[in-house]
Symmetry: C2
DNA sequence: TCCTAAGCGGAACGAGCGCCCCGATTGTAT
DNA sequence: ATACAATCGGGGCGCTCGTTCCGCTTAGGA
């Protein structure tokens, strides 16, 4: 984004990269609630150093979320290109697995203490756009029912991540994924009440 | 549980009931993170009064969760008795709707900062037992696929609550419920890979 | 090698919150 | 009505955490 007006001193650049890497790992493990002091300690720097490179804790978190979203978008586009019918499912279950390994991303995506669209509008738009593409492809291929839109898929991702986090053992999620998949592959709601949910 | 060795003074009993009621509403709105001072203010008492009736914030939260679980269990048993085939679905979507109105219960159930089985073992056992009953009934009635157990249903509830919380508008969840329902009603995994999820 | 400014670390500040303490208040038995 | 004990309220303690400050260190050009 912002081109550095002057190159960072070598040690400063090293520290910045180290903080970013450690912060990514720490946010993934502990979520956004982790203290800055903890990140500084793990990175072997003082808290002041973290704050010189990132003005607030929030901005550090944003930098990491933006990077992770970019990775996810690229991966999903590749997989959808290789197999349009399976692309959405691959993406969905990959996002679900993130629930186990990346709490920070999961929180950001679920909007827990973080407004993705407000904080990173560009990243959010690209993410949403990518989802629209692979959803359309899957629907065109006939592998996903056609009465769902991008917002529904986002909702399902939030749910899948919560489930995956709740179930520590990934083995056990293979009992739940087929249920979701069967639901998504089912034909659109028919006139009888069979697929209507009246609580 | 503990019989009062001596009856509470009239004003004390009134305050206790008031705190319990207000705490329930507040935990539902804001979750377990809400400060005790906030509950005390809303109840029109001092923080000291809250702590005389409940030794810790945690114990107050537990009392409320236990009560809510009891209500949910009763409701679910009634609905399952009225219609065994629909009982599980009614329960599932009712729990999902709790995601919108009762953040405290949702957090407790998802295990966010709260170990349900450790804190309220009896309530947890009765809850799990009830779920086993209505799941078995639904499977016997043929409305739910037979390759799922209670742990899978718990997982789905956590996911549904997260989805419902993510989607502020209940209207929109009626686009997602049918998907889950279709997945649960689907036949057991067949030999072909159609319902297998390979990420 | 020397000088200067960029960079560093960690003490310290202020705000938020769980929980405790104690003088003031008030219900209730007599 | 009186006295006593139960109860009340809210200020305060101790701790956590985000952020700032500033004296010390050191990279790197001359």
């Amino acid at each position: 984004m912002t081109e550095k007006s002057r190159p960072l001193r070598a040690d400063a650049a090293r520290n910045r990269a180290r903080v970013l890497q450690v912060a990514y790992e720490t946010f993934a493990e502990e979520g956004a609630g982790v203290p800055i002091d903890e990140i500084a300690r793990r990175a072997g720097v003082g808290a002041g150093t973290v704050y010189r490179h990132f003005p607030t804790k929030e901005s550090l978190f944003q930098a990491i979320v933006a990077d992770r979203l970019q990775q996810v978008v690229e991966r999903a586009r590749e997989q959808a290109a290789a197999d349009p019918g399976e692309g959405l499912y691959a993406f969905l279950f990959h996002m679900a697995e993130q629930g186990a390994t990346d709490l920070g991303l999961t929180e950001a995506f679920a909007g827990i203490g973080f407004d993705l669209a407000a904080a990173l509008p560009d990243a959010e738009k690209e993410f949403t756009g990518m989802m629209a593409e692979i959803l359309t492809q899957a629907q065109r291929a006939g592998t996903v029912r056609s009465d769902l839109d991008v917002a529904d898929i986002k909702t399902l991702i939030v749910g899948l991540q919560a489930m995956r986090r709740f179930r520590g053992d990934s083995e056990l999620m293979h009992r739940v994924y087929p249920v979701i998949r069967a639901g998504l592959a089912a034909p659109d709601a028919s006139p009888d009440g069979a697929t209507d949910a009246s609580a």
